[in-house]
């Protein structure tokens, strides 16, 4: 057996951090399962709550926006456009906040056992991705009911999910780096994720934004993630720029998040 050596003076590169995480995959798996079950254990509806929660949100938005504003779904039925947007926004906000809280939730364990500290944030982000995966079922149903059908590109949706997972985990680790010191930053993040949702053409077509303001939407990576998800899941308009931003922002966010976090998590064990 190879002798593992720990040297506190060696700074690990982000890639090494991720490999370390891989060694702890059985822990990651248990934490994801716990995150998924604990959330719904105490509710009567159980896991179905995963589905009902976004469906209610979609219903509310549908009532408000299809009746009062535009019904334009950019070629697809508005309900399809809206569902994809709301589910995707849920992945983003749930993932970032839960991953941000991860380090605080894992504080008790981190003070007593050596585990990769980012495992808690990754578990939360993965749980959000799994939730999103489950919520694709109602999306498929809506696609079928609306007669849009499920295009072959639906098979590419996992690419979109993985890119988003990397993006969410990276941002979550950045949030966690601050949450180590200031717990209330999480309240701020909840508001910010809502702002991001409003700025990513979730429930309105980008065409309703005056042209000179459209850049506000276009500098938002979440918007591009959503464009790609819509393109893959029901054949919404595709753009190479959006695909590039989606993959690029995923990799960059993850690398930056892991790096910043590796320099800041120590606070959680040495602050009394």
């Amino acid at each position: 057996m190879a002798v593992s050596t720990y040297d506190s003076s060696q700074r690990r590169l982000p890639l090494a951090e991720l490999r370390h995480l891989w060694e702890y995959r059985s822990l990651l798996r248990l934490l994801v399962a716990r995150e998924l079950t604990l959330r719904y254990k105490r509710s009567v509806l159980g896991v179905w709550w995963t589905l009902l929660n976004p469906l209610f949100t979609i219903g509310v938005f549908w009532l408000v926006f299809s009746q009062i504003f535009s019904r334009d779904g950019g070629g697809a039925p508005f309900i399809v456009y809206l569902t994809a947007g709301v589910l995707h926004a849920g992945f983003f906000s749930q993932g970032v906040t839960a991953a941000g809280e991860g380090i605080v939730a894992g504080r008790g364990i981190l003070a007593k056992v050596h585990v990769p500290p980012d495992v808690f944030s990754f578990a939360a982000a993965i749980a959000a991705a799994v939730n999103f995966g489950i919520s694709l079922i109602p999306l498929i149903l809506i696609l079928l009911i609306q007669g849009v059908g499920v295009p072959w590109t639906f098979l590419l949706v996992p690419i979109s999910i993985v890119a988003m997972l990397m993006f969410v985990a990276g941002l979550g680790l950045l949030v966690a780096s601050v949450a180590v010191r200031f717990y209330d930053v999480l309240d701020l993040v909840r508001v910010l994720t809502m702002l991001v949702m409003y700025l990513s053409a979730t429930f309105y077509p980008i065409s309703i934004i005056p042209e000179r303001w459209q850049w506000v939407i276009e500098i938002n990576p979440v918007y591009h993630h959503l464009v790609i998800f819509r393109a893959f899941s029901y054949g919404g308009p595709f753009s190479w720029v959006s695909l590039g931003v989606t993959l690029g922002s995923g990799v960059v966010a993850l690398a930056v998040g892991v790096w910043v976090f590796s320099r800041n998590w120590r606070d959680v064990v040495v602050r009394l």
């Binding site: 057996m1 002798v3 593992s4 050596t5 720990y6 040297d7 506190s8 003076s9 060694e23 702890y24 995959r25 059985s26 822990l27 798996r29 248990l30 008790g108 364990i109 981190l110 003070a111 007593k112 056992v113 050596h114 585990v115 010191r181 200031f182 717990y183 209330d184 930053v185 701020l188 120590r266 606070d267 064990v269 040495v270 602050r271 009394l272």
Partner: protein
């Protein structure tokens, strides 16, 4: 042959905020008033130490001397504020046994979780589960939620998991104090076997007989520093003298 553990000029400071600034809002207010202030508590204040393979080191000293912090530095739970910690080999840390145990989950689930926390794979743990439970003597309690366990039973379970894998280095922090006599004998036998197979051990204890019986060398810590380090008998005797004269 290289050493198992090397500590060079290791210091660790805990940060204690004078005002409990837990939120960003409070931080902003304190910053505005110019009161953001914290104190550093040097729990370990300059320790140099190296431990050979197969060597058993005892750590003694009064409460608050930094013994547990030292062990946590070696277990890589705490990163050193200054200095360098090098550990060569697989490590089994018996600190706060059963950290991460969940009272509502069964013994089985907790063993799986604890194994995962120690970085062991799911397949290994599934394979080892029966033996771990049997060693802990808890066969009848495997599906009982942990809240029904006594603290001694929890310690047995934690010890059984922690020592289940072969380790080159074993850290034992006051964990032998909670169990009954049978558990004590059994766990000491297990530690003995690991020592004989060449593992290095760091044992923290207030029980001087245990220290005398087990250790080759003893570190006496006081206020985060090494008050004395050397052959077991010399250091333990000096420690006893100092405690007696103080009393």
């Amino acid at each position: 042959m290289s050493t198992a553990i090397d500590l060079t000029g290791v210091r660790l400071a805990y940060r204690i905020d004078k005002q409990r600034v837990g939120t960003f809002k409070e931080f902003a207010i304190h910053l505005f008033k110019g009161q953001v202030d914290h104190e550093l508590l040097w729990a370990v204040d300059g320790i140099d130490l190296s431990l050979d393979r197969g060597e058993v080191l005892g750590v003694i000293g009064p409460n608050g001397a930094g013994k547990t912090t030292l062990v946590k530095l070696i277990a890589r739970i705490l990163p050193p504020t200054e200095g360098r910690v090098v550990v060569r080999g697989n490590l089994a840390a018996m600190i706060a046994l059963g950290a991460g145990f969940h009272p509502e989950s069964s013994a089985r689930e907790n063993v799986m979780l604890y194994g995962a926390l120690l970085g062991r794979s799911r397949t290994t743990m599934l394979e080892r589960l029966p033996e771990i439970i049997a060693w802990a003597g808890l066969d009848d309690f495997i599906d009982v939620p942990l809240r029904a366990f006594s603290s001694g039973m929890v310690a047995r379970l934690g010890f059984a998991v922690a020592t289940d894998a072969d380790a080159d280095i074993l850290l034992v922090d006051e964990v032998l104090a909670v169990g009954d006599r049978e558990f004590l004998t059994k766990s000491e036998r297990r530690i003995d076997r690991m020592i004989r197979s060449g593992s290095s051990v760091v044992v923290v204890s207030h029980s001087l007989p245990t220290i005398r019986q087990m250790c080759d060398r003893v570190l006496w810590m006081d206020h985060g520093r090494a008050r004395m380090i050397g052959p077991t008998e010399d250091v333990v005797a000096a420690y006893e003298d100092s405690v007696d004269s103080a009393g």
